[in-house]
Symmetry: C2
Subunit: 140 residues, 2 copies
Amino acid sequence: MQRGPVATWMRLVRVFHHVEGRETVALRAHDLSLAQFDVIAQVGRDEGITQQVLADRLLVTKGNICQLLDRLADRGLLVRQPEGRANRIVLTPAGRAVYAEAVPAQEAQLAAIFSPLSTDEQAQLRALLRKLEHGLDVRD
Amino acid sequence: MQRGPVATWMRLVRVFHHVEGRETVALRAHDLSLAQFDVIAQVGRDEGITQQVLADRLLVTKGNICQLLDRLADRGLLVRQPEGRANRIVLTPAGRAVYAEAVPAQEAQLAAIFSPLSTDEQAQLRALLRKLEHGLDVRD
DNA sequence: CCGCCCCTGTTTACGCCTAAACTGAATGAG
DNA sequence: CTCATTCAGTTTAGGCGTAAACAGGGGCGG
């Protein structure tokens, strides 16, 4: 058997990988990658967001966002609206249609994935993760 | 506030991303990417493993493993030993040296990262993740 | 007004990762 | 024995992601 932290981390990796895989497969129904979905979901919830803020929210670099937006804009799902030195991102009608379909579908799938845990257990899991996250923030 | 499963998943994503980032930074001291470390660690623990089995263990495709091994072999950290139609992977002395340094360092870092949680809490987290993982396996 | 810095976005090189097509060796059915 | 299948490994196209260099508009001190 493995020592504690390593075992915990490996389990976290496996669960994460598995859930990510499920989400990815489900999103193929909407012709979206997980990264593209994240962009659509965030922009749909916060229209007019700038690229830098979007990058911060999704925990990726602005360079990455730029490429993702290129592809999504090519597909006509969103547009860049220059304003000052920033771009405001807004969904097109096509983009909003995808948003309206994909977001509820993804929420339903997450609910199904987490259904092995009771509401209490999910809250417990969130609490443990929050504690971990706080510890990480404080430490340097 | 967010509904349950989505909130849980977002927290999981943030924690995962954060830990991954820490590991990645720490591994720069050994000139290894996280993926490369995973290969070295697995091969070091299980010398003579084949590429396909390695791929299964690390949850990636054999095509990916092939590329990773190319780079690590170029750097002289491991070699492919053909046997039948498989390749047995073994570390070179240089590879074993990296293994001997990097693995304990990574274990120590994981222990530090998880230190905000008590031993009990870590066990609790593992239990919740295990339950989640089992549910995932059963469901289709 | 001018020059400087800063901030946003873009580009490029490179590694990770997948899916899918391909190579070739081992196996085994007829 | 021979042909087909199977299975490990390789290759390729393409998306994701980073770091680092670059472009240029805005704002500010002098």
